[in-house]
Symmetry: C2
Subunit: 370 residues, 2 copies
């Protein structure tokens, strides 16, 4: 099988870097004003301190961050590192904008490129859905350990994953309630496991896989929904940071399994359809080492191209003000497919009005595949 | 190579029927009120004539059309034929709605299933983007030749592909003009062939393929855009039917290469960015054999899940009221991959005010892949 080796690449680099070799993703990222302006603002607000500094822009894409450095500050050198074939164009863009004296484009993987010197600042836009998805962060950590000088700064400097229990009425209606009445007909056998005999595994055949059993609940609620935009009013409680990363001390091996706890106090009555997750990152000031800029991808900020990620429960639960939802989240990096992970949520709902042991622990695992 | 045979299936049946084995596409089709109500209306308005008739519903999906027949008329039998694994659920839906006396679900390909009798009516929803895409129509023609009795009726009974020259300002701006000014930087080297040295093929390497040269024009305008919704005000001329199919006489071999002509009189000045195509189908009345119902997927009707298909020119052209745009369209079915085709447009623009030979013939081919 000719492409057997490619198919077995646990990093799926051909697919991954291939997608960044086209313009579609770059257009999406550059169109994201919150994202791009955050990096621009970091550079602008640190422009004095950036003078004569050496910068590495890891996974530079079209080079926008490197160009901001050259345009808004006077670094002595910017090394713009990009593994995908877009790098060929990045060189043209650097020239077109007259930055070729300062910005050097290096095409290669973070793990393989060689720089002529250590850097003072390592900047990168590595974040994916649920912060870690695609695990580009590993490349950032390797670059940090190889190229960041003692006392250097990493942008972003810290990151957090945030979770909230939420309503998702319109999504639930669109995918589940939909089947109840269709043009005067009853389509409920398609909708949930509990509703009908079709929910039972078919023991007459061993070929039944989730793909071949297209119940709406199973088909639409098994994977997380990456393109969700939650309304602040659909949050049932105050959001909670469940995982916090310090980019100076984080180790690659810690990425294998990350765990967080949550305890939400339900603030208003409603239907608990699932959890929504998003992330925020902070950029340290070069002078004060306090936070210079924060990029927040949550529902109270401008929508970004990351949107938010919705994890639907199999069955919605009615909750009331005063109830609590507590539990834990596990992010298991896939041991083979290194850009993928599984997110497992464990939770129970405690009624505020009844005795404390009325709750039943629930758990659901969501595969996050590219 | 284990799946070598699957990869070589020129009908890509695993992928094709696999996608119809999940609910996503069925939900999209059932949510399309124009589409579903058109079939419902055909059955309702022919309900008297359907009494005691035998119907075949080819590619029945969840069985909605068969259920309409059983619910709104009194056919003697409905054979609901479906090749994908959704058929297992279709049987449950037939039962759930009490139609199992009338509707028989047969899982299999149109070419292979056996019916106990000839049918009076062959109904199918086989249309794809640009009418023919995915070429399910071939299965309908084979079923017609095998199972439709002499004098029987086919729904839809005829179909037309319609074309119009159009503006596509916002799409052009989003994908091309976008690069001109980005956060104070000049990104034009990414935008079109003519704008920059990057447009020249790089003769230093023979590895350059379109995929590796992600100029916006090339990346975004090579394939047709399937999800376009054109505003009536973006049509530069009156639309023109370029291909008309009679479902009673159409032959499978005619699908290999279909040709149409067009001559548009530009009605208002504007920018000619491309052509937009859509289709309409008509359903004969069982009694009068005149048209009972028409389903039109164009810009003057309610949007459908098919939307319209946009074919962008490489470079926009200014046109004025009184100009004419004439030429031809070829639909070449892919000789190997039987669900795919290439659409080639040939056109020239003639100024209404200058001598008639000022025009230059242009041509562009668009691959239509699944
Ligand atoms: Ca990213
Ligand atoms: Ca279709």
């Amino acid at each position: 099988c000719q492409d057997g080796t490619e198919e077995e690449d646990p990093w799926q680099d051909e697919e991954y870097f291939g997608s960044y070799g086209t313009l579609k993703l770059h257009l999406e990222m550059l169109s994201d004003k919150s994202r791009t302006e955050a990096y621009r603002q970091v550079i602008l607000s640190n422009s004095a301190s950036l003078r004569s500094k050496v910068v590495m822009d890891l996974g530079c894409g079209t080079g926008i961050i490197s160009l901001f450095c050259a345009q808004l500050a006077q670094p002595s050198a910017v090394y713009a590192v990009e593994a995908s074939s877009i790098a060929e164009y990045t060189r043209h863009l650097v020239k077109q904008n007259g930055c070729e004296e300062v910005v050097t484009v290096l095409q290669g993987r973070a793990e393989e490129i060689e720089l002529p010197e250590q850097v003072d600042i390592l900047v990168s836009e590595w974040m994916g859905s649920c912060l870690l998805f695609e695990f580009m962060v590993e490349s950032v950590l390797l670059a940090r350990d190889r190229w960041l000088r003692e006392g250097g700064v990493i942008w972003p400097s810290s990151a957090a994953l945030t979770l909230v229990p939420c309503q998702a009425n319109s999504y639930y209606t669109e995918k589940i309630t939909f089947w109840e009445q269709l043009y005067g007909l009853d389509f409920t056998p398609l909708h949930t496991k509990a509703s009908d005999c079709t929910s039972q595994p078919d023991f007459n055949t061993d070929r039944v896989t989730p793909k071949q059993r297209p119940l709406a609940q199973q088909e639409f609620f098994t994977k997380p929904m990456f393109n969700h935009l939650i309304e602040p009013s659909d949050c049932l409680a105050a959001p909670c940071d469940v995982i916090c990363l310090d980019m100076y001390t984080l180790q690659v091996k810690e990425l294998e399994e990350m765990k967080g706890q949550f305890h939400f106090c339900v603030e208003k009555s409603g239907v608990f359809h699932g959890f929504t997750a998003w992330f925020s990152v902070r950029f340290d000031s070069l002078e004060t080492r306090g936070t210079a800029v924060e990029l927040n991808t949550g529902p109270n900020s401008e929508p970004t191209h990351w949107k938010q990620t919705l994890f639907m429960l199999d069955m919605p639960v009615s909750v009331h003000a005063g109830d609590s939802i507590s539990g834990s989240i596990f992010l298991h990096r896939n041991p083979k497919w290194r850009r993928h992970m599984t997110i497992t949520l464990n939770w129970n709902v405690n009624s505020g009005t009844e005795e404390p042991d009325n709750s039943q622990a629930e758990t659901k695992s969501f595969p996050m595949w590219r």
